[in-house]
């Protein structure tokens, strides 16, 4: 066929490409590009064929399926045969969780290939259409140049997209899916199969009194904690910033250098140091109180179940020690940025220094730091470190399911996962956290200018 004047309907090359990837490109005389698409198809089919065993008379997906087919099969069924003891010995069973994760990975990779296929089909269509209109076909080299400039943004983001899909999105999908299974310590693969159970876990958390009591208790404390810790650090930091920037103070640098220390010292080290200082048996703080005669007995700061509010108060104070310098540093920065003219004008009008503070410094600092309050609230809501290193959730609360008085939702989930291996319940909890924190953040974000400009 002569290439001049023959008009082929662009649907034809795109249909060809849909069957044999790159075939449409070959018809469009873009041989190299066609080859690349074809190699993608070879890779796609090759992976499936080589990882599976299709050339057999008794084909069973469980045994002969390839990466993609078996992956999807595993995700849907979660395995059909558990590991069993038979006369012949231990048979190899299905590991539901491995199947599930492999299934998610296979599905994600499958979607990537589907994306390449869509690109391939639409490219064949577009190229032919353009040829029909202009009579020109870009050679591969020109195409690559054009591709680089028109796809620059996607190409540059590839590493980030790849990492996000496999190390952030995949784990989140997994932990969401686990909430709909019966994956717990009592039902561990590979000797048992995990099953899909729908919303049963959600139901049992809402209906079993021990679970709902723990959830309500831990959730309430998490909210109280997030409010208290954010407020104490924010206003404590503000207060220190005002004092340290006061004109009356000399040696500002020395004080600032000292007060900023808790921010600079790695948090987990400070927390472990405080944990030993507040140790009920050997801790120096109790010792000091005994030495000066304030108490007769040692105080179990963090482990006294009879007085959980003591542990909670100590926790908030220690967190204040850790957290106020950040806000102090931040607000000092904001305050030094306030134009001196405001204060001079106020002086001329005869304002007192407290009036200056309440009418100039306070509103200006609040305005530029208020958004951080929400950020700080949500990070305190999930402040795992302070619980894990300092109180370990204690004192123990016997009426809770595996949680102590100072446990936050996040540290409770950690205990449910790693100590109790109640994975399905833990997943339900993380979905709940996700919904709560997520809606706060989205609500907050929708009001910002950044959103409207987006």
């Amino acid at each position: 066929m002569s290439s001049q004047g023959v008009k082929i309907n662009p649907v034809i090359p795109s249909c060809m490409s849909a069957v044999i990837w790159g075939a449409g490109q070959v018809l469009n005389k873009q041989y190299f590009k066609g080859l690349i698409f074809f190699l993608f198809q070879c890779l796609f089919v090759g992976v499936e064929l080589f990882t599976g065993n299709y050339f057999t008379y008794d084909f069973v997906i469980r045994e002969n399926g390839g990466f993609f087919v078996k992956g999807v099969w595993g995700l849907v069924t979660l395995g059909t045969k558990p590991r069993q003891m038979t006369l012949a010995g231990l048979t190899e069973g299905d590991h539901s969780i491995v199947l599930m994760i492999s299934g998610i990975i296979a599905a994600l990779i499958f979607f990537i290939f589907i994306a390449v296929l869509c690109w391939n089909v639409s490219d064949a269509f577009k190229t032919r259409k353009e040829y029909n209109e202009t009579g020109k076909i870009l050679d591969t080299r020109d195409y690559l140049t054009k591709l680089w400039s028109s796809m620059f943004h996607y190409i540059v983001m590839l590493p980030a997209i790849f990492l996000l899909i496999f190390l952030v999105l995949m784990p989140i999908l997994f932990s969401f899916l686990v909430a709909f299974t019966n994956y717990t310590k009592a039902n561990m693969p590979p000797s048992n199969l995990v099953r899909w159970v729908g919303f049963n876990n959600f139901k049992s958390i809402l209906t079993l009194s021990a679970w709902s009591r723990t959830f309500v208790g831990v959730f309430t404390w998490t909210i109280v904690w997030a409010v208290l810790s954010t407020a104490t650090c924010f206003f404590g930091g503000f207060f220190q910033a005002v004092l340290i920037n006061s004109d009356r103070i000399k040696a500002k640098r020395i004080f600032r250098g000292i007060l900023i220390l808790p921010w600079a010292i790695p948090g987990f080290i400070s927390l472990l140091v405080f944990k030993t200082m507040f140790n009920g048996q050997f801790g120096p703080i109790s010792q000091f109180l005994i030495d000066i005669g304030l108490t007769q007995t040692r105080i179990a700061w963090l482990t006294d179940s009879g007085n959980p509010n003591l542990a909670r108060a100590v926790l908030v104070l220690v967190n204040l020690w850790l957290g106020f310098p950040y806000f102090m540093a931040l607000m000092s920065g904001v305050m030094t940025g306030i134009s001196k003219e405001y204060y001079e004008a106020a002086k001329i009008d005869g304002a007192t220094s407290s009036q200056e503070f309440w009418n100039i410094s306070f509103p200006l600092v609040m305005r530029s730091t208020a958004p951080l309050l929400i950020m700080s609230f949500s990070s305190n809501f999930n402040n795992f470190g302070v619980i894990y290193f300092f109180t370990e959730g204690g004192p123990i609360n016997p009426s809770y399911q595996f949680a102590g008085y100072t446990d936050l939702l996040i540290s409770w989930i950690y205990k449910l996962t790693l100590d109790q291996q109640l994975y399905s319940i833990a997943s339900v909890m993380s979905i709940l956290i996700f919904i709560i924190v997520g809606s706060i953040a989205i609500f907050n974000f929708r009001r910002t200018k950044a959103f409207k400009e987006m």
């Binding site: 784990p171 932990s175 140091v273 920065g333 996962t417």
Partner: protein, 290 residues
């Protein structure tokens, strides 16, 4: 007349006294708070030089200061190896994070393309999901690909985890750099990559420093991922090694922990102090993206 003058004097004196009292109170408050801040710090430093190793007998000013615990740290544990591991992870995380995150943020800030809005919303949502909730999945992923107990894989986990939050932060900063600069360079025929590293990067130095410092720091503080993904002693990070010294029922390694804590905290504290200015700029810029 004379009486009135006396009154004025008295008023002035009262005001002066009140003024001085306020100043004294402020000094008093600052000194007390400084002492509260310094107490745990000096206690841990003092303990690390203490003669005995038990928590009960350690004191702020040791009677017979000794370097034994520091020596033991290097001789009896793999402390130096842990230090090296953590440093490797920190540097790797810092370099890769800066490259990946700034490029992604640049694209989100300067390009308009299909899926941009969706992408931004997705990372906003992903950023709120505490990364360790997905750790079981990451564990099994690495188990399948034989990547457990591998420092590189641990580093990649950190790099991926920081992308959503920091991309938002960087994008906000880039948005503040006038677009006219890009356009002028574009007219001069500069390529997009060149615009990025010759125009945008230099203008974003404070924010990039902030990103570099925070990503460098995080492996020093994180305990959860290394505990889960690293099993051998030689691949441990500092946080895991130190935590294990103190997390037993017997606190007999307390002074060794103290020595290790000092060895970790001193360089990091110095680094923070030197880069304070950039860190504060970074946070304020993050806040002002409102």
């Amino acid at each position: 007349m004379g009486k009135r003058k006396n009154d004025v004097d008295l008023e002035n004196r009262k005001a002066r006294i009140k003024n001085r009292m306020t100043t004294a109170l402020i000094y008093l408050e600052l000194v007390v708070v400084s002492l509260i801040v310094l107490l745990p710090v000096t206690w841990i430093v003092g303990s690390s030089f203490n003669h005995t190793s038990s928590l009960a007998t350690s004191s702020i000013i040791p009677k017979n200061p000794t370097l034994d615990h520091y020596i033991a740290l290097f001789q009896e544990t793999d402390f130096l190896k842990w230090y090296g591991n953590t440093l490797k992870i920190a540097v790797g995380n810092m370099l890769a994070s800066v490259v990946v995150t700034t490029l992604t943020a640049y694209v989100f800030s300067r390009f308009r393309f299909k899926g941009r809005k969706g992408g931004l919303m997705t990372i906003l949502v992903l950023q709120m999901f505490p990364s360790f909730l997905g750790m079981t999945a990451i564990y099994i992923l690495y188990l399948n690909f034989n990547l457990l107990d591998n420092l590189g894989a641990l580093t990649v986990t950190y790099i991926a985890g920081q992308i959503p939050y920091n991309t938002w932060l960087m994008k906000g900063y880039f948005d503040g750099i006038p677009q006219s600069l890009d356009e002028a360079a574009m007219l001069d025929g500069a390529s997009r990559l060149r615009i990025f590293y010759q125009i945008i990067m230099p203008l974003a130095v404070p924010m990039i420093t902030f990103l570099a410092v925070t990503t460098f720091m995080s492996p020093w503080m994180d305990y959860i991922f290394p505990r889960l993904l690293i099993s051998s002693d030689k691949n441990k990070t500092l946080a895991v090694g130190l935590f294990e010294m103190i997390n037993g029922n017997t606190n007999n390694n307390f002074t060794m922990f103290a020595a290790g804590a000092v060895m970790v905290a001193v360089p990091i504290t110095i680094l923070y102090m030197c880069l304070q200015k950039y860190l504060i700029q970074g946070i304020t810029a993050g806040a002002n993206k409102e």
